[in-house]
Homo-oligomer: 119 residues x 2
Amino acid sequence: MYERKITPNLNCGLDLIGEVLYGKWKIRLLWFIEQGHKRPSELQRKIPDASRRVLNIQLKELEDHELVMKKIYPVVPPKVEYSLTDFGKSLIPVISALGRWGDQHEDRLRRVILKRIPR
Amino acid sequence: MYERKITPNLNCGLDLIGEVLYGKWKIRLLWFIEQGHKRPSELQRKIPDASRRVLNIQLKELEDHELVMKKIYPVVPPKVEYSLTDFGKSLIPVISALGRWGDQHEDRLRRVILKRIPR
DNA sequence: TCATATAGGGATAAATTTATCCTCTATTGT
DNA sequence: ACAATAGAGGATAAATTTATCCCTATATGA
């Protein structure tokens, strides 16, 4: 695992939530788990642009941060299910607020974002 | 300026808001500008851990994304003031929600974050 | 016997973001 | 003449995050 060389700022609430939500796929993972997509293979199908490897890594971080729980069933082929902890559930309204703002301003956002990205 | 090689996902509202809020100091910049700290030197004093260079870059992105406006006064020494656009103002409640969740769970967040960071 | 499904993880490369260092402008005050 | 001030930005290094590639294990069904 990569080991930080620069210690993060943890001064205010914004710093703190940033630490646990940063990561390209984390918010989506929380979202889909909340929707009931529990197994790694399901999540991968929901987020096909991410490699399995990265999803595993980010799921592990979410688990370390106590936002999700991982249940391993001792069967073959292996079966694993993720679910939100109460802590993770408490974050859902915040994620909804983010998504709602994004949806409300979809057209404008798409325009200003693409403006900066040639082709 | 760095030019992306991988095109971003812009499928849903969460992708879209992620594009404009990602950036180590962006949320804080929006926050402090909303608080009335308009000039680059003020913002730098508020965020001493960031270099002036990076703040300029991130301010430019916020401007391109139409979240802030930049007013340049033609005086010497130069004077510049940033302010939120209406679009940027509409984002403030969302940022508040993020900060509030972070504040509410401050102790737990600090604990789980530090757990993963040796030293 | 061989492909498939499920989940995991090491090693390494590539992409992306931040940090550092240095220079430039033009006026005011000493 | 020179330092101080306020803002901008090029060049490059370092840090961090993602992506790729490859390999492990075991039962089931063709």
